[in-house]
């Protein structure tokens, strides 16, 4: 546990080392937040409700989703795939550490940095310009923290899985591009799931990607309360367990066939 705590701190510090990159990122997230907010507000010209979201809910969704974007690393992560391709993974496997727990700890540290320094600043800027809705009940903040943490775990497990493709394919980039496309769309990042046609929303809700963005947003907007809230969080836990289990199984299968070339 102590070891994993230290690994998480390394994950945090790796990204804290580049403040200029953080500033540039905040700027870009903020611009995209403004653009998306105005576009989606355009839908409320003649309507007051879309899929249960009023205009305030939608703008809050936009800025909260921007805050989650880097936190769950939605644009992809190929560090493990690069290590597999270069053979560096051999060093990782020689360590007395489980690669899955190692990357999970590292990623939680990274996510904390990105949430605090890449996620919250654009949200605060959005709050100045737009009328955003904050949770009314103090308990909600706690559930938001739980939900966002689970979102990071689900996301890491999913990213770990598509990185493992590099064990079988010399060029993993096609697989990664498809995985990122599907996850961005079905997580609700591109556009909120309640805006989807109902048949497509049903499909999206049945997939693990909703656990990365849409569920934390629903918790934040207090759209899910009481039994629904418990259900939403349990669904995230279930996806985290399933995907971590899957990642473990696939990793084991990969390690059975792995041949590291001597250097």
């Amino acid at each position: 546990m102590r070891l994993h705590w230290e690994i998480a701190r390394r994950g945090y510090r790796r990204f804290a080392a580049y403040p200029a990159a953080t500033f540039a990122g905040i700027w870009t997230n903020t611009i995209f937040g403004f653009l998306q907010a105005y576009i989606l507000l355009g839908l409320y010209e003649n309507r007051t409700d879309i899929g249960g979201y009023d205009a305030t809910d939608t703008v809050t969704y936009v800025w909260f989703a921007q805050a989650l974007l880097m936190t769950v690393y939605a644009f992809g992560w190929v560090e493990l795939a690069l290590r597999i391709r270069s053979g560096d993974v051999a060093t990782d496997l020689a360590r007395p550490l489980d690669p899955l727990w190692y990357w999970l700890a590292f990623d939680l540290g990274r996510a904390l940095y990105h949430l605090v320094f890449r996620g919250i600043p654009p949200f605060l800027i959005g709050m100045i310009v737009f009328d955003l809705e904050l949770p009314e009940s103090p308990a909600t903040w706690l559930w938001v923290a739980v939900s966002v943490t689970l979102a990071v775990v689900v996301s890491l497990a999913f990213r770990f899985l598509y990185n493992l493709a590099a064990f079988w394919l010399l060029d993993y980039r096609g697989v990664v591009a498809i995985a990122i496309t599907i996850s961005l769309l079905f997580s609700g990042f591109v556009i909120p799931l309640p805006f989807f046609p109902s048949w497509l929303e049903t499909i999206a809700r049945a997939l693990p990607f909703a656990a990365m963005v849409q569920i934390p947003v629903d918790v934040f907007l207090e759209q899910a309360e009481g039994v629904d809230l418990a259900g939403a969080l349990l669904l995230q836990v279930a996806w985290a367990v399933v995907l971590l289990g899957l990642a473990r199984t696939v990793l084991a299968a990969a390690l059975r066939r792995v041949v590291i070339q001597g250097g």
Binding site: Y18, P19, A20, A21, F23, A24, G25, W27, T28, T30, I31, F32, F34, L35, Y38, I39, L40, L41, G42, L43, E45, N46, R47, I50, G51, V129, L170, D171, R173, G174, V175, V176, A177, I178, I180, T181, L184, L185, V190, I191, F195, F196, P197, L200
Partner: protein, 267 residues
């Protein structure tokens, strides 16, 4: 000029040959960029599943804007998108090599890569163009047809100018690359929708100062014969080529003055 083009053609044909060495990888990459480029259009389709009009624009009209900016942007991305990696040239000191060669610095940086896999994005834009034109009833005069061509070319020139000017930030900080994304990728995203939808200061800054409104919005008002909700002078609808040339000149000046101030890391 002809000489520069000949050099460029030779460098790029070598790039193309090397990229085609691994055909399966190339095909998968092409398919990947093609797929991911549809994400934004899916958003457009989902928006119009909820409302018949967005800020007075129909689905096919927005698709027209979308296709136009996507083709302009994707072509530029193929040719100079690797400017995103320019900070690495500064950090690793490879830009010093460029300084001692007898060609323009910008020319050499641009000629260093040619991302064929991003042609998937161009294809996506063309497909959406066909979709848009299929659902629009435009009175196609010679003027409107010519304006459509001018729009795509001027749009590409504006994106290229913004990309080049934005890349110079690497001369001040090598970690700030993402700053430029707000203008390049952000500009592409912004121009997929009518400019009138954005708040006033966003418009002033990103649509007029950084001239994104001239990429496809103003020419499209003329081509689609739409009233301008902002009531701006009609001459602006024809100004894109002038703005594009001006943007290119400004970008050239920024690049030159940035290079003049460059001090190598010396390692």
């Amino acid at each position: 000029m002809a000489d520069a083009l000949a050099v460029y053609a030779r460098l790029i044909s070598a790039q193309v040959r090397s990229q085609l060495q691994y055909r399966v990888s190339f095909a998968l990459d092409l398919a990947g960029t093609f797929l991911i480029s549809f994400l934004d259009f899916i958003a457009v389709l989902i928006i119009f599943d909820n409302v018949p009009e967005l800020d007075g624009w129909t689905l096919h009209e927005v698709a027209f804007l979308y296709a136009s900016t996507c083709v302009s942007f994707a072509v530029v991305d193929v040719v100079i998108g690797h400017l995103d990696l320019f900070p690495r040239m500064i950090r690793e000191g490879t830009f010093d090599l460029i300084l001692v060669r007898p060609r323009g610095t910008l020319f050499q940086v641009i000629a260093s890569d040619f991302a064929m896999r991003k042609l998937g994005k161009v294809l996506q834009g063309v497909i959406v163009f066909v979709f848009a034109l299929g659902g629009l009833e435009v009175d196609w005069t010679a003027g409107r047809a010519a304006m459509t061509l001018v729009m795509v070319l001027a749009g590409a020139a504006i994106f290229a100018a913004v990309w080049v000017a934005g890349a110079t930030i690497a001369f001040w900080t090598v970690d700030g690359g993402e700053f430029t994304n707000a203008f390049t990728y952000g500009g592409n995203f912004m121009t997929q929708y009518p400019i009138s939808i954005y708040g006033e200061w966003v418009r002033r800054f990103l649509a007029y100062l950084i001239p994104m409104a001239f990429v496809c919005y103003f020419p499209s008002l003329y081509i689609l014969d739409k009233p301008d909700p902002l009531g701006l002078p009609r001459a602006l609808q024809f100004a894109s080529p002038v703005v594009a040339v001006a943007a290119a000149v400004v970008a050239g000046v920024i690049w030159r003055s940035a290079v003049r101030r460059y001090r190598s890391v010396g390692s």
